[in-house]
Subunit: 100 residues, 2 copies
């Protein structure tokens, strides 16, 4: 399994404007092949920080997601609508796993 942890930080004033399109992108992504978990969430301590968490069945499924047309729509929309202050998204192959 592949995990993705990341964040996009936008101007806090832009969050409301991006939320509906973000929700649509999330719903579309959750239909993609190999998608186990896909979520964006608003950090409770850092306004404007959108946390990203994902689980995918394989590197291939994640790569296909990266090339999906709806992701370009989202990316273009985000740049046009919000001031993006920071971005970090990292994928990891899952090793030893422990429920907590």
């Amino acid at each position: 399994m592949i995990l993705v942890i990341g964040h996009v930080k936008i101007a806090p004033a832009n969050v409301a404007a991006v939320r509906p399109t973000l929700q649509t992108m999330i719903a579309t992504t959750r239909q993609e092949k190999g998608c186990i978990l896909y979520a964006f969430a608003e950090d409770v301590s850092e306004p404007g920080v959108l946390r990203i968490v994902e689980r995918w069945e394989s590197w291939e499924a994640l790569a296909a997601h990266g090339k999906a047309p709806h992701m370009k729509v989202w990316s273009d929309f985000l740049k046009a609508t919000a001031t993006v202050l920071d971005r970090e998204v990292i994928a990891y192959e899952a090793g030893e796993t422990k429920p907590l």
Copy 2:
């Protein structure tokens, strides 16, 4: 590196009441030895779902966090203040890593 991905789902009406104590717990946890990332975030698509993402230097650091007194304070507060509808928290050792 150890990654943690999880969520706690509470009644949406309870989110505002838990937020200040949650913010305090997060700030305290970020001071813990071996903590690289520790965040809670409100899911943009699922009201009441608090997404959890963490990065720790080692299993030992994560285990020490689990036993920290301030985590029992948080856990007791959460149960007393909110209706917890669902919870899943899973730790993973990070394997092959790719920035996206």
